[in-house]
Structure formats: C-alpha cells, structure tokens
Amino acid sequence: MTIPGSDDRYRSRDEDTAQVLLESTREHPAVSAAVIECAEVGKTYRNGTLEVEALQGVSFTIGTGEYVAIMGPSGSGKSTLMHILGCLDVPTSGTYRLAGEDVSAMSEEELAHVRNRRIGFVFQQFNLLATLSAWRNVELPLVYAGVDRATRRDRALAALDRVGLADRVEHRPGELSGGQQQRVAVARALVTDPALILADEPTGNLDSVSAGDVLALMDELHRSGRTIVLITHEPDVAAAAERTIRIKDGQLLGAEMAGSERGRP
C-alpha cells in the first residue's frame, strides 16, 4: 500500500491545522490544537412526557493527530455522542467545539456545511450508494462542496489509490468485498481532507481479516497525521487506538492512555 504522504493536499491540511491551532491557543491557552472540545455536553430526548437523559455532563478534549477510541456497551450513549461529534445532532446542554468552531447552536444548513468540510464518516453499514461506481461514491462529498468535476475525479482517484483500490475505481459496491467496500468508505471520508475522521463501528460488519485490514488502514492514516475517533464496543478494536474514552449510562468513566503500553513505533 503506497502512502502519498507528501501530497500537496496534506500539506495544505497541515496549514489549516496550524490555523486552528493558533485560534484555539488564543481562546484556550491551556489546550493546544484541539479538534474536539466537549464541555459539559448533555443530551436529553423527549418522548412525550418521558425524558431520557442519553448524555450528561460529558467533557473531554481530543487533540490534532490523536487516535481515540470511544468505547461502551450498547445503550451507553455512545451512539448519541457519536451523532453529536459528527454534527448529525446538536447537544441540549453544554458546548461542543469542532476545530475551534462552536457547533452547539448551529442551524441544520450550517451543520451540513460543517459535516461536509470538517468530518469524514465511516459507517458500520458502509453506506455506499449501490448505483454509483467506487470513484463516484468517493467524490460525493466534493459534489456538495461545489468542487468542479475534473478536480473531483482527480481527488477521488487519489483517495482510492491511498486506500489501495486504484484498480477498482469503476467497480460498483456490489462488485466489491465487504473489506473493499469499507475501504471505499474510508476513501470517501478522506477525500475532503477533514479535520476529523469519525468511524462508527467500522469493523462491525467485517470478517476478522477485513477488519484487520481496515484497522491497519486507520493506523496508517493516524501515522500520517490524521485525527481519528473510533466508536466501538469491542475491546480488541479499541486497543488499536492510542487512547480510549469509556462511556457508560451517558457518563464518562475516565480515559486511559494506551499508546505507550502497546509499544507503538
């Protein structure tokens, strides 16, 4: 697998990050280069008269270039947290800053733009459009970003090359294995050069070999400087990350550092 790490796109991203770093240092002198800043984030769902507190007082920070796993059993509120981190939903209390931008009170329209520019999603169900070829799937976020066709194709092909699928660009999802489909999804998450890659149970639907492939790919992306947040309920998967944030009953259980123990290069 080749890594065009010295690509222009990635350099420009570094400059972007530097900009974010400057901003956040100015506003939060204590925290440096934070991609995710959650302060007392809470989410309450109302179902008629019944109130369900899915999250209460969740505060944590994830810095640029970190590889963090968010772990918890089902019903722990990790899906809700993932939706908030992914700007698919807004918290009912507290603030959430993504790459220095407060997204807690944004309109649906603004959230769509933030998702488009800042976040790359990898879903458990891959969520590829069955009727489009691999590269057409990868270019989708760029379509909504208003990038012209030629550039979109170039960038989509580069992203597919990066995940090792340069020879599968014209294949439709149905013609690819599960592991390959998830790699297409990873390429789609990469293509906009987001500040954050948010992977929700990315290995949940894969056999162990493909799962290993996808985790290796994540690792590689991390090493090339990406910020990755991985949501999972499997300890094996969480072990791939540097740090694990545990969540239970809508509250954090505390974070542990894993990177040094795992003897990473």
């Binding site: 939706h83 698919l88 329209e109 459009l129 989708l140 909504y144």
Partner: protein, 416 residues
C-alpha cells in the same frame, strides 16, 4: 452544488429505477397524448365545419319558410308547408328592391330515385334556377348548367353531382344519357365539379354536396314533385353582392318579404333568414363545447398521471431514506435534497410530456386514416402540453421532496 449537478443526480435516479420511472412516465404520457389528441380533434372539426360551410357559397343568406320563435322551435306558416313563393324570389332578385343582393336562387328539393338503364340511385333532386351555380360557388366539370331557356321551356334536363353521376353511370360518359325520375325521362346535360366529400362526420350541418341532381325549378314543380303548390319553393338562397353588404342584403330581404307577406311585427314573420356566419358560429360553438368536454376528461387523466408521480416520489423517498441520510451526512443541505427530488419529479414530467407530445403528433398523423376526422395539432398546444407535464411533475413533487428534505440525517442513517 450547482443546478447542473442536481439535474444529473435527478436524471441518474430516474435511469436507475427504470421500470418504476417508465410506469410513472406512462401515466403522464397517456394524459398528455389524450389532451393533445382531443384538443387537436376539436380544432380539426372546427376547421372542417368552417370550410364545409364556406363551401356552401360565399356571402350567403338562406331564407327558409317558417319562423324561429324567440324560445327556439320553428313555427310553420299556416295552411301550407312552405310560405315562400317563386314570386318572393323574383322580387328579391330585383335590383331596385334590393340593390345589395347579387343573385337569388329559389330551391325546392325532394328525395327521388333516379333510374339509368338498370341502375337505381336515390338522391336529393333540387329544382332551381341558373343563379344557383354562382350562389353555391360551384362550377361544371362537364357539359353545361341549366340555363334560362330550360326554365321557360320546362326542359327535361338534369345536372348531376359527381358522386351521383358515378353511381348511375360508373366510368361511362353521362352527358346526353337518359335518366328517369318519377316516370319522367330526362337528359343529363352536365356534371358539377367535385367539392370533396365532406364525409359523414363533422358535417351534420351540410348534406353531401357531390351527391345531388339539379333540375330547372319549373320542371321540378310542374312535372317531378307532385302535390305541393306549384308556386311555392323550399329555401331561397340569396347571395349578397359582397361580404360587406351581407347585412344590408339581409335587411333588404327582410323588408321586402315583410311587405310581400304583409307582416307588421317581426315575431309574426313566416320566414327565417340565416346568414352563413351564424351557421358557422353555431357549428363551431357546438364543437367548442365538445372540445372542452373531451379536453376536461383528458385533463383528468393528466391529473391521475400527476398523482402517480406524487405516489412514486413518496415511495422513492421512503425507499431511499438511507441514501438521503447519507447524502445529508456528507454535506447535502435540506435545500439540495429538496431540489434533487424536485428535479427528479420534473424529469419524469418532462419525459412523459415529450413522449406524450410525440405520441400525440404521431396519432394525429395516423388516426385520421381510420376515423376520417381531421386532427389539427398546433405547435403552441404541443409545447404547452410539455410545459404542463413538467409543471405537474414539480407540483406533485413538492410534497415528497419536502419530506425528503425534512428527514433528520441520524434517523435516516439508522433506518434498516
């Protein structure tokens, strides 16, 4: 995302769901075809009626016996079936009495059986004078028309319409041949030009102008048609000297007949004068009503097609909840999603409209060979129909598109 991209995405969705799209398109297509054909049929009928009526002769007034009462219905004159006489016709023909009247042709007609050798043919036998040819705007293909001396001598001569001549004599030359009518043997002296069979349809107001036999009115009243008074005539056809003097001619004829028939109040009149134009407007208004009625039915089928679009778009939204959720997660704003589905609906409308218009135009070319009715397709109607089809797609696409746009991305992504 610019409009071209949106259009491409919409088009792709239509192409992807081929069967469903084509069924939806079919609904719109049938509606548009029906509208185009019914409107075309109505317009064609109107045009045919106008040309039929103008074929009757130009600047024509028809004076018929009896009067129309204000409430409709015809009142007959007393004592006799006809209140018009040859004297009336002679008076109207006078230039001093009615300077604006060009020609006057009294007519009397009956259905009679003509016999030529062993062939029988029943047709309308019209007794009239030489002016009939001008008044009716006809000409001769063969031989001559009845002349003044035929009237004075009550000559046993007959002029045949082209259809009548063909029925009686086939391809043989009919001039000089004997024809027996009511036991009177008459000689064929001429054949009228063909005005084109106005056919059975669209022309209920006119008889077949190519199937008739013309005889001198004096011969008709004294030798052929028994019973009725020899002096009365059926209709009197009056031709104004020009189209601008038609109403003047009408007034002169009314005044003259009023004085001849000693009529003081118009409601007592025992005759009716019908200008060609009123015949035309009556006929076209009947056809218009029919067109509106048929167009309405066609419009309903178009509405059903539109509901089909809405239905299929709602199914499409439900079926593609995950796709919508994904697109939203990747940065599609509600507006972009709404536009995508609207474009999809209007593309369905557009395809249905274009195909429907094509089928309509094709039908307008083919159908007249089977139903003998002319169909007139105007460019305006065709383009209008396509625009309406797109409009239907948009109108019936608004609700489903709105639903798609309102979907929350998480709910959409979660759905299995």
């Amino acid at each position: 995302m610019n409009i071209l991209e949106t259009f491409r995405t919409g088009l792709e969705a239509v192409v992807t769901h081929r069967l469903r799209s084509s069924l939806t398109v079919l609904g719109i297509m049938i509606g548009i075809t029906a509208v185009i054909l019914t409107v075309g049929l109505g317009e064609g009928a109107q045009q045919q009626v106008s040309s039929d009526i103008s074929a009757l002769g130009s600047n024509l007034l028809t004076i018929s016996p009896g009067s129309t009462t204000s409430s409709s219905g015809i009142r007959g004159g007393f004592g006799s079936a006809s209140t018009l006489t040859a004297g009336d016709a002679t008076a109207l023909a006078s230039k001093t009495v009615a300077p604006d009247i060009g020609a006057v042709a009294p007519t009397t007609s009956e259905s009679e059986t003509l016999v030529a050798g062993t062939t029988n043919w029943t047709t309308t036998v019209v007794g009239t004078n030489p002016s009939w040819l001008t008044v009716r705007g006809r000409s001769m293909t063969e031989g001559r028309f009845i002349a003044g001396h035929d009237l004075t001598t009550r000559a046993d001569v007959v002029v045949l319409g082209s259809t009548t001549a063909e029925e009686l004599f086939g391809v043989r030359d009919s001039i000089g041949q004997p024809v027996t009518v009511n036991g009177v043997t008459m000689t064929v002296i001429g054949v009228l030009n063909t005005v084109g069979s106005s056919g059975s349809s669209g022309s209920s107001t006119t008889a077949d102008q190519d199937d008739q036999a013309i005889v001198p009115i004096t011969t008709a009243s004294t030798q052929l048609f028994g019973g009725t008074s020899r002096n009365t005539v059926g209709d009197i056809l009056v031709q104004a000297s020009s189209s601008s003097t038609l109403s003047a001619a009408n007034q002169e004829a009314t005044a003259e007949l009023d004085s001849l028939h000693q009529i003081t109040t118009p409601t007592d009149a025992d005759f009716t004068i019908t200008p060609e134009t009123s015949l035309l407007s009556t006929a076209t208004s009947v056809d218009k009503t029919l067109t509106v009625l048929l167009g309405g039915i066609a419009g309903i089928s178009l509405l059903v097609g539109g509901i089909g679009v809405m239905n299929i778009m709602l199914v499409s939204v439900t079926e593609r909840i995950r796709e919508i959720g994904l697109r939203k997660a990747l940065g599609a704003t509600p507006r972009v999603i709404r536009r995508q589905f609207l474009v999809e609906a209007s593309v369905l409308g557009l395809i249905g409209g274009v195909l429907g218009a094509g089928l309509g135009v094709l039908g307008a070319r083919i159908l007249p060979h089977f139903i003998s009715d002319p169909i007139t397709i105007s460019l305006v109607a065709t383009v209008g129909a396509i625009v309406v089809a797109i409009g239907i797609g948009v109108v019936f696409g608004v609700y489903p598109a709105g639903r798609a746009a309102r979907l929350a991305p998480i709910d959409a992504l979660r759905s299995e």
